[in-house]
Amino acid sequence: MHHAETVGRAPKCVGSSRPLGVDRWLRGRRRGVGSERVGGRIPEAAGRPLFLSCPQADVGAHKRVREAVQVPLALREAAVVEDPVLVLQGVYRGAEEVETGRGLVAGVELEEARLPSRALGVAGVRLFAYNANTLRLGVTGSRKIRGVGMETTGQAKGKAEAHVKLGDDERIIPAGDTVVSFLKAELGVDPAVTLFLMVGGKRTPLANDQVIDVRSGMHFEAIGGGGVS
């Protein structure tokens, strides 16, 4: 991820910026606007999927290259992102608070944040700040963005690629731990379908919030089309 090349502008932060513990950050959020949206907490210990999503967002524009986007944000831990249009996956690095001149903003730093660029036609992304209501990110590419979900995992994705199969088609996607909802995007399948992992003919359905270690030789099937009547 080449952050410097993909971000339109950095957040304007006035005053000091200092490290902030996660618990303190959340306490601060609970006092603030939008605190009712907090459905979980950021894990101090990395290793679990974390979802920061805004499925209701509708920025509704074709964003140009190097344009920063702000979207409403809700925070949930280990929850399914309902039909996200975009899903980001990154590595949680820490939280900090910044004084913007319009009040305190809590931010989360991510490294190696990335979009499923192959599937979505977005070349890159950098997350640089959010508060209780806003996720601000920079994207490159031209894509109508109707909503954004962000997922973090505690382990960095390796740069290795995995040669996998989706049905009868070969796909090359990043290897390593991947949240299934993110994997769907990387495979280019509809978020609403159910992904099955096939091992020796055995089919196992995968939950959206499940994290699997993507490796070469894996075989997936995307099955969907049904609905509760």
Partner: protein, 122 residues
């Protein structure tokens, strides 16, 4: 459905979903297949027993029943479901529609389609 067809279906389901057996009440009755440990996606109870009843196969999809113990994270069974007495036991049947075509009907795909129901959390 003749005996070979029954055997083929049960074998295919066993490969795809683990141990499966023909539990039909009689050879002249519709094929009933018990899948002993079908894997369901979270948050649903898994693995779980599943029962398939092949009536008028392949013109119609098999009926699918799941063990009554299957619940989600809130402890609730799938919505729009009901209990059914089958082969002397009680099973849960749920409402779930998906397109079905006789041409190319595949029992494994049919079960996969049924299992996609459990991608919904309630």
């Amino acid at each position: 459905m003749n005996a070979d067809e029954r055997e083929t279906i049960v074998a295919a389901l066993a490969v795809a979903f683990g141990p499966a057996e023909d539990v039909s009440p009689a050879p002249d009755q519709p094929l009933h297949v018990l899948v002993h440990a079908a894997e369901l996606p979270g948050p649903w109870t898994s693995p779980a027993r599943a029962l398939l009843r092949f009536t008028d196969w392949p013109k119609t999809r098999p009926e699918f029943f799941i063990d009554r113990s299957v619940v989600n994270a809130a402890g609730d069974p799938p919505r729009s479901s009901s209990e059914q007495a089958i082969l002397g036991g009680s099973w849960r049947q749920f409402s779930f529609g998906f397109p079905w075509a006789e041409d190319g009907a595949d029992p494994v795909r049919a079960v996969q389609l049924w299992l996609t129901r459990f991608s919904e959390p309630t």
